[in-house]
Subunit: 207 residues, 2 copies
């Protein structure tokens, strides 16, 4: 069980970590975390020791991983909202689809690098420029990213999503994404699905 004062300091530690991530600082020391709430480094180490399984590396805490850990601990994980990148033919159909709400899910933000599309409203959402992806995903604790861009740029889009804290990618581009271990990719190759149907028919022919 965690003492109440320690519990109340966790969200502040979390905000301090988020700020470090936004500024591009990979490590944060316990002294620094302590300054954000006005307690000594030793108290921070004691608070974080309540989080089972969270070790302390020698150079300070790794900002990204402690932030993810605190996100889960504080119940900040957003498992109902997704962002979509690539508002072309397929992306637009998915963005306009009301059926996701059946499962309590929704695509809450759309991104595209085509400046002619940025600012357009699709399904009640304004298309945003790519620069805002990482920051918005992190602020809203988005976990799910949908990729509907051409295959050659899918990897760089995946990396931008991961930089924003996204842990699950639904990939419609026909290519293999290389991602860190803690990120899950679900590939959806619709053309391969149609090919399977066609193969079935061919098999029947010779069957």
């Amino acid at each position: 069980l965690i003492p109440r004062p320690a519990l109340e300091r966790m969200p502040v530690y979390y905000r301090c970590l988020m700020k470090a991530i936004d500024e591009g600082t990979p490590f944060v020391s316990s002294d620094e975390l302590g300054r954000s709430v006005g307690v000594p480094g030793v108290q921070v180490r004691k608070d974080l020791s309540y989080l089972s399984g969270y070790g302390r590396p020698g150079v300070g805490y790794v900002a990204r991983s402690l932030a993810s850990y605190l996100e889960e601990f504080l119940g900040l994980i957003n498992d109902k909202e997704a962002v979509l990148v690539g508002v072309g033919n397929l992306g637009r159909a998915l963005a306009l689809y009301p059926g996701f709400a059946r499962y309590g899910l929704q695509i809450i933000a759309l991104f595209d690098n085509d400046l002619a599309k940025v600012g357009q409203i699709i399904g009640g959402h304004q298309i945003l420029p790519m620069e805002r992806l990482a920051n918005l995903s992190r602020r809203l604790h988005i976990q799910i990213g949908i990729i509907t861009v051409p295959a050659p740029v899918a990897q760089e889009v995946a990396e931008a999503m991961i930089a924003g804290g996204i842990k699950m990618i639904w990939n419609f581009a026909p290519c293999r994404l290389v991602v860190p271990e803690d990120v899950l990719v679900k590939n959806e190759d619709l053309a391969a699905q149609l090919a399977m149907l066609s193969y079935h028919i061919t098999c029947r022919k010779v069957g």
Copy 2:
């Protein structure tokens, strides 16, 4: 092995069967098939006996099933082309997608019951009215039908496809289709897929 004259009569039998199907006649006798090529009914029965596994019911041949059988026997099965019904947001994205060609596949005809859409050109194909679905599918020996209409009308669209000889349905509508045994349905519920991703995240949270 089938004697050459018998083999050459098969496509004519097939056309005769197709004509009967178009006219709504369920059965065709061997005498009638014989008349289409100028041979007696007994010769027709001898020709068809070469098709292993094809029995002859008492009331004449069942037009649809003998036609399907001859389609396969003559290699007329078209396993590379598909028709799509419901050219809305999703149907349009699929119709415009060049990626199916990677597997030698293509969507060759689009249908919709919205008369405002009929006649529009999408991805080089004119949107056709629903009345033409069964006839076109049969003439081109189409085996694969893609359903991208709202769930409440998906069953009736499936039946129209099956009437056109379609044997495989790729169903995007979130509903269960009831089809004859020889028709295969592949359901693609994209909303359920997204829900799976969300569920994964929730599981991680409590994991």
